[in-house]
Symmetry: C2
């Protein structure tokens, strides 16, 4: 077998890897959603969330996955919605979603907070058919009612206003094709579009040409997997797909704290977008750092005015022991402010 190049450009990627089957249908829905938000005058944020997979076989038995419950993305989406944004929520199938995240992945499935109430004739409005006339109701237990009421109320409001549109991906291939298509649709919103790229995207993948059709058999001693690098799509995303006007926020997750700032700065330098949010795997729930272009911010908001650096570094921390506080509330508040400035056009916040 000829040795393939170990790095695909974005162009050669899309030329050689097939699009996911549901793509056209997904994009129809996005087009309609974006059109409506434009009409209603909202800002829109694309939130990506959860990990992507790399299947090892065409008949998928095994796959490489990226560790991500989707907490960052799902939580942030909730705060963006509360801030009046319309949200395109593009997440890994079965990972956390806004609102249901409070209940979906707990040790006590929701069945534990439902109780059966035997029917009372004058209570329900009965129909001639079915369950109503039996009278039994299934209702939430008293101890769960208050907090669920808060979540359910805003969930229904969002549903009624039509400000949340959900898309799913599983593989890194699904993700790349969807990200490109969705960004192209969103680019009509120009500066009013934000791209909040919180998904944990595979760095390596198996090109279709290298995948085995059937389950790799385990009788043969050790297993060797050789994978190619996933193309860096931030470049075409910033330069082409978002139409150069979108407010692009990417994330850097590191396990070695010494690498965090250097890698975040390198990323911003290389791709020329607006913000890199750096987080240390073990501290991410209470501490993040915003790396952005120094000349994009009012001088008062810059932590470290190192005159030799083009970058502004702004740390955001909350009390790790405060269980009622989520750091995403502050992350989103800060980004909403910066996005407003971006929309107002009062900044030169793209690398020239």
């Amino acid at each position: 077998m000829p040795e393939s190049s170990s790095s695909f450009s974005a162009e050669s990627y899309f030329a050689t890897q097939p699009p996911p089957p549901g793509l056209e249908h997904d994009i129809e829905g996005v087009k309609e959603f974006v059109r409506r938000q434009q009409e209603e005058g909202r800002n829109v944020v694309l939130v990506t969330s959860g990990g992507t997979t790399v299947p090892l076989e065409l008949n998928v038995v095994r796959f490489l996955d990226n560790f991500s419950a989707g907490t960052r993305g799902a939580t942030s989406a909730e705060y963006f919605l509360k801030a009046g944004y319309a949200v395109l929520f593009m997440h890994r199938q079965f990972s956390l979603q806004p609102f249901s995240r409070h209940y979906s992945h707990s040790t006590n499935p929701f069945l534990d907070f439902l109780e059966i109430e035997p029917g009372v004739e004058e209570r329900s409005s009965f129909t001639a058919s079915g369950a109503g006339s039996e009278g039994s109701q299934i209702c939430v237990t008293l101890d769960k009612r208050k907090t669920l009421l808060e979540v359910l109320t805003i969930y229904k409001a969002v549903h009624a206003a039509g400000t949340l549109h959900t898309l799913t991906f599983v593989t890194v291939n699904d993700y790349l094709w969807l990200l490109r298509a969705v960004s192209q649709e969103l680019s009509v919103m120009k500066r009013k579009a934000m791209y909040y790229l919180a998904a944990a995207v595979s760095d390596f993948f198996l090109p279709r040409q290298k995948m085995s059709e059937h389950k790799i058999q385990s009788g043969k001693g050790s297993l060797h997997i050789e994978m190619d690098q996933v193309p860096k799509i931030l470049k075409p995303m910033v330069d082409n797909w978002t139409g150069k006007d979108g407010f692009v926020v990417s994330f850097k997750l590191e396990t070695d704290p010494a690498l965090l700032i250097p890698k975040a700065e390198t990323s911003l330098q290389r791709y020329g977008h607006q913000v890199v949010i750096g987080n240390d795997l073990n501290r991410r729930k209470f501490e993040v750092v915003f790396i952005s272009w120094k000349d994009a911010l009012p001088s008062s908001s810059i932590d470290m005015a190192d005159s030799s650096s083009s970058f502004a570094e702004s740390w955001l921390r909350i009390d790790p022991h405060d269980h009622n506080k989520e750091i995403e509330e502050d992350i989103v508040a800060e980004l909403v402010k910066r996005h407003e400035m971006w929309i107002a056009g009062g900044t030169t916040s793209t690398k020239s």
Copy 2:
């Protein structure tokens, strides 16, 4: 770095890989559960379900996973419970569970079938504090009520009877340590214990000594992963951990139909347990094959009495278009029958 042997025995595995932190606590719970079931005279089945992971780094960013929603295990557990068994449900964290499986991984999170009913004074029993006196109730919508009532009723009955005990694993390491310890606890039940091994267990893993501490950096061209074989634990399980009296059922999943029967027969021959259930990835929801020892079954129930083979091959099929039928109902009914025969001791169904 010295080249490690590419295959660990079960013994060398447990001698070199550390146990998961929660193990002792998990086993206390299992001990108590098993003791109670013995007292109450039930049969007990250990159902394993979902895929195991192989983390690539000690600070987990990436991992290899096995494709498995947990449908087979979670559905079978429900039918075992309905058949009067006590069930030890050992599943991949966040994978499907009995009962909640009907709702947990759907496109419509459960929030979609709850509605807020403004309070009526005389209806609820109020307490001086909180939600009750506000009067709002949160109840299930009419159209979802009937089917949810069925599921919820049996869920509560199982909960009240205490016949379902749940354990979770994530990594293949968690799984192996837990399987060994749980089997050893269950072995006191002798013939009344069944082991239904439906989990999708990793064939390959990275020994702790080969794992990198930090996130493997993606700047370096292609990624090479070299993995060792996971020891075949069916052998010590059948020979030692289950005390030789347990009724052990394993699964074989293949993507190439030509390999299915040969591999299932090889497995039964090699480990000498009671049943191998073979399934083709693409047909598993409506077709499985039971491979067992010919002399363990009444001659009337054998599909293919090939006098030269020690094996009996019994196909179980349902109508793929019948959406109200689950094949696990028939799988469990067949196994309950065979287990009863095993308990009665009227068979010589272990390889001599």
